[in-house]
């Protein structure tokens, strides 16, 4: 655990009122929905960004939108910070609480409310896991497209909060492209419905704004998501290369040639070794870089597409090509890729970066990433969504060594700045959370951030929703509603 990232100073007055607050909460929802025991609170003190931990004041796990509304209204009336939580799989610390905050978890709201196939939509509660939507509609020939690697655990509410992506969003887009509507509880407990089964909604695109807002605009309790007809078949193919540069160039060429596969995933040698040791997926071990290219459709379609992709790969001197010959083999190939983070966690502690860069910069950024980690004396494994330039360098370190932990965080920051300087952004799909909060000024000007913060304030005037996240802690005053005069003067 390090202390590079600050949290807002907890409000001592709120903490002092803890017994009274707990008593009040007990009046708002059933006892089974309220967690206050110190030991039972521990699982909620962090998320998948485990370097930082904060014990919340209490956790509530409401069963209904009305209960969420009651708690949120109470917290707003009493100026108590609120941390919305899905499954706690955030890699950027988006769900880490603070000592004066109530965690509102949506995990008990886990029912699929409606499957409407003629309209290709499913209405689900926010605590439904990502994978369970696809499982529920599978027999009817549909699926829900965004597939973050944590899809077994992560909730649709969390996916909306972070605008989650996944390996297959190269073709199908990320959460925001697959979300049709939400029911959301606003800061004051009011409940709004935005969007629905129509493809677009009236007025400003509030749905687009809410998606990826990291729990700062309200708490989503229900979502209407788009279902897509399941392809007849899918076939991942492994392409091994002698260098990361040639693999990167091959990716650019495939995309540029007019072929958009469902997924193009990239692994460098360290990542291949880690994943193969864990999943025994049959990855080639004698290559420096591996691409998993997945195509889908009928056999004839896949053959046609693969023929062209293989021709491009040969042009780039591909060393090994292996097509999966069975559904089992295909599943193994994906198991290896999707368990990359978990497999890495078995051999070392790691932090995972998430910058996105223009495709043409992939090779440059990969080379520079190695230079950066070398400079800090750390190892790095790269496994990422190459088709859309979303990098995931995993920086390996020993969390028991405070010095190395600090180095890892600093190397991560350097890599993210590199991504921004190469024309990209700090985070492609994991969110800003606390992790990248203090780098926001590297990507945005004061005017850019000021505009975002004013919009945020329109949804949450007292800044009670996930307040330590996304926006740098300093320089907030000018944008907070308590200080309207500053804005008016500037205008």
């Amino acid at each position: 655990m390090t202390d590079l990232i600050a949290f807002l100073e907890p409000d001592k007055a709120v903490m002092a009122r803890r017994p009274a607050i707990i008593a009040d909460l007990a009046g708002l929802l059933p006892e089974s929905c309220l967690i206050t025991d110190e030991r039972e609170l521990v699982p909620f003190d962090t998320d998948a960004f485990v370097s930082y931990r904060r014990m919340p004041l209490a956790v509530v796990l409401p069963e209904t939108t009305a209960q969420v509304s009651a708690v949120l209204k109470y917290c707003n009336d009493n100026a108590i910070p609120v941390i919305p939580r899905g499954a706690g799989t955030s890699l950027s610390g988006g769900a880490i609480p603070q000592e004066d905050a109530i965690v509102i978890g949506v995990s008990k709201m886990n029912r699929i409310l409606e499957m409407d196939f003629p309209n290709r939509a499913a209405v689900v509660q926010a605590g439904v896991t990502n994978i369970s939507i696809s499982q529920a509609v599978d027999a009817d020939g549909f699926f829900y497209a965004p597939d973050p690697s944590s899809q077994l655990a992560c909730t649709i509410g969390g996916n909306i909060g972070m605008n989650s992506g996944g390996a297959h969003c190269l073709k199908y887009g990320v959460t925001t492209n697959n979300l049709l509507g939400v029911r959301m509880v606003m800061f004051d407990g009011s409940i709004v419905d935005i969007g629905g089964k129509a493809l677009d909604s009236a007025g400003y695109d509030l749905l687009g704004l809410i998606c990826g807002s990291e729990g700062q605009l309200g708490i989503v309790t229900e979502a209407t998501v788009r279902l897509i007809a399941k392809p007849e078949g899918a076939r991942p193919v492994l392409f091994g290369f002698d260098s990361s540069e040639t693999a990167g160039a091959c990716v650019t060429d495939i995309i540029g040639s007019g072929i958009i596969p469902v997924a193009i995933e990239f692994m460098d040698k360290p990542a291949i070794e880690i994943c193969e040791a864990f999943a025994h997926a049959g990855y080639p071990m004698d290559v420096e870089a591996l691409l998993i290219v997945e195509v889908e459709g009928s056999d004839a379609e896949m053959d046609a597409m693969l023929e062209r992709i293989i021709a491009i790969a040969r042009k780039h001197g591909v060393k090994t090509i292996r097509e999966s010959q069975s559904a089992l083999e295909a599943a193994l190939i994906w198991k290896g890729r999707k368990s990359a983070f978990g497999a890495t966690g078995r051999i070392a502690d790691y932090i995972c970066m998430d910058g996105t860069v223009p495709l043409g910069q992939l090779s440059y950024v990969l080379a520079k990433t190695s230079e950066i980690t070398d400079r800090y004396g750390l190892r790095v494994a790269n496994v990422f969504h190459a088709g859309d330039g979303n990098m995931h360098p995993l920086i390996l370190f020993d969390a028991n060594d405070p010095e190395e932990s600090r180095k890892a965080e600093m190397a991560g920051n350097d890599i993210l700045k590199l991504c921004v300087d190469a024309g990209g952004c700090l985070t492609g799909e994991h969110g800003v959370g606390i992790e990248k909060r203090d780098l926001m000024r590297h990507q945005y000007s004061d005017a850019d951030l000021g505009q975002q913060m004013r919009v945020r304030a329109a949804f949450d005037p007292k800044w009670i929703l996930n307040p330590s996240k996304v926006f740098p802690l300093d320089g907030r005053n000018g944008s907070q509603p308590g200080n309207q005069s500053a804005r008016k003067t500037a205008a």
């Binding site: 605008n163 695109d205 998606c211 046609a304 975002q452 500037a490």
Partner: protein, 405 residues
């Protein structure tokens, strides 16, 4: 208004100066791109006009990265020509409102995104807002603000990009847009099913969308409108049209499967690429209702299975012509006389929700009938608060979206 009242900034800084000046002086500005949608929405009451017609030029385009950046006033035609030269395209197939509105001039790329103009491929590839990756804009106080960027995946901070798309220039003056582009499909065909009524067509389109054949356009044209499209070549009753696009071998496979399924529902013919192209362009641009008429035209967005129910209900009460895109979820209504705003919106609510926009009507009607769907109170208040955070003095396009904003 005379020509002198129009300002033509050539740089983003000039835009910022003009807006800041208006804001300081308590004046209002009508924001205009190519000016082809001026009669869409409520008539704007403003002291002056800011045209982006000279803020032009493609600023970044590397075809292998599938991303283009352009200044907001760049003509759409110039964008599409540059893309076509590299065998690429805008995936969202932006509607051209000129035929319907009887407008002249060249649509600008900024105007396309400010109005979130999408076309038939929206059901597969998303709307304009889904392709928009980044924006630069000048807010109502004259500040230059950027959001998003030029990469495909970006969740860094609040997504103001989406908010600006479809905001009709009421939140900021777009100065530059960065958007995703895609390779043009190698080939395209349209499967035409004849003789289905509206309800049968809705079922057929839903069945097609449930197949793994990647339908990229699903429209239904009742008999009353078929002579208005594709040069009048379609005859003999209503047609339901399904488009397939992609690599040639793949389209062949999918065509066979889709034809087999649709043949059980009606007579099927297959249109080749050229015929398909013309037909979908006419559907996209609402050709059935284009012309000199000022009969009110509505654009209705509902759940796909609700579209035909809405039309059936309306037909019992009033004179209306209609056709369907987006699997039945996008309904174009042409009213015989009265716009019937209340009736249409009441039925939409009863059918599970959606919204109706009055696209064409006389200025007098557009000033008195809510052009955009009125929102529930809580959302209306939120919308007001958001507007205030971008344009606190109400400088930009006052009255364009609602009477009070």
């Amino acid at each position: 208004m005379n020509v002198m009242d129009i300002e033509y900034p050539e740089t983003e800084e000039e835009v910022a100066r003009i807006v800041a000046g208006a804001n300081a002086a308590g004046l209002t500005i009508e924001v205009r791109g190519g000016g082809t949608k001026l009669t869409f929405g409520r008539p704007v009451q403003s002291a002056s006009t800011l045209s982006l017609a000279r803020l032009t030029g493609i600023t970044n385009y590397d075809p292998s990265e599938l991303v283009m950046a352009a200044r907001a006033g760049t003509p759409l035609a110039e964008i599409e020509a540059a893309l076509a030269a590299n065998n690429q395209m805008l995936t969202f197939e932006p509607i051209d409102y000129r035929p319907l509105l009887g407008a002249t001039g060249e649509p600008s790329i900024g105007g396309v995104f400010a109005a979130n103009n999408s076309g038939p491929r929206r059901i597969l590839a998303g709307a304009a807002r889904d392709s928009l990756l980044g924006v630069r804009f000048v807010n109502g106080t004259g500040e230059i603000v950027k959001s998003g960027g030029r990469v495909m995946k970006n969740v860094t901070g609040l997504d103001l990009v989406k908010l600006l798309a479809g905001s009709w220039g009421t939140l900021g003056v777009l100065s530059e847009v960065i958007f995703k582009v895609l390779p043009k499909p190698e080939t395209a065909v349209s499967i035409v099913v004849s003789g289905l009524n509206d309800a049968q067509a809705a079922e057929a389109m839903a069945a097609a969308m449930a197949m793994s054949v990647e339908v990229s356009g699903a429209a239904h044209l009742p008999e009353s409108v078929i002579h208005k499209v594709a040069g009048g070549r379609l005859t003999g009753g209503p047609v339901t049209i399904l488009r397939l696009e992609g690599l040639t071998p793949s389209v062949e496979v999918r065509t066979t499967r889709l034809v087999a399924e649709m043949s059980r529902r009606g007579n099927v013919t297959v249109l080749d690429q050229a015929a398909s192209h013309d037909l979908w362009r006419d559907i996209r641009d609402v050709k059935p209702f284009a012309g000199a008429s000022m009969k009110p035209v509505w654009r209705v967005s509902v759940a796909p299975s609700a579209g035909h129910q809405l039309v059936a209900a309306l037909r019992l009460k009033t004179g209306v012509d209609a056709f369907y895109d987006w699997q039945g979820g996008l309904v174009w209504l042409c009213m015989e006389a009265d716009p019937e705003a209340g009736l249409i919106r009441q039925y939409i609510k009863a059918l599970g929700g959606g919204h109706a926009t009055l696209v064409r009507a006389s200025a007098a009607i557009r000033a008195s009938v809510p052009v955009f769907e009125p929102q529930p109170r809580a959302l209306e208040a939120l919308t007001r608060r958001i507007k205030d955070q971008f344009d606190p003095s109400g400088v930009l396009n006052p009255g364009r979206m609602t009477e009070t904003m």
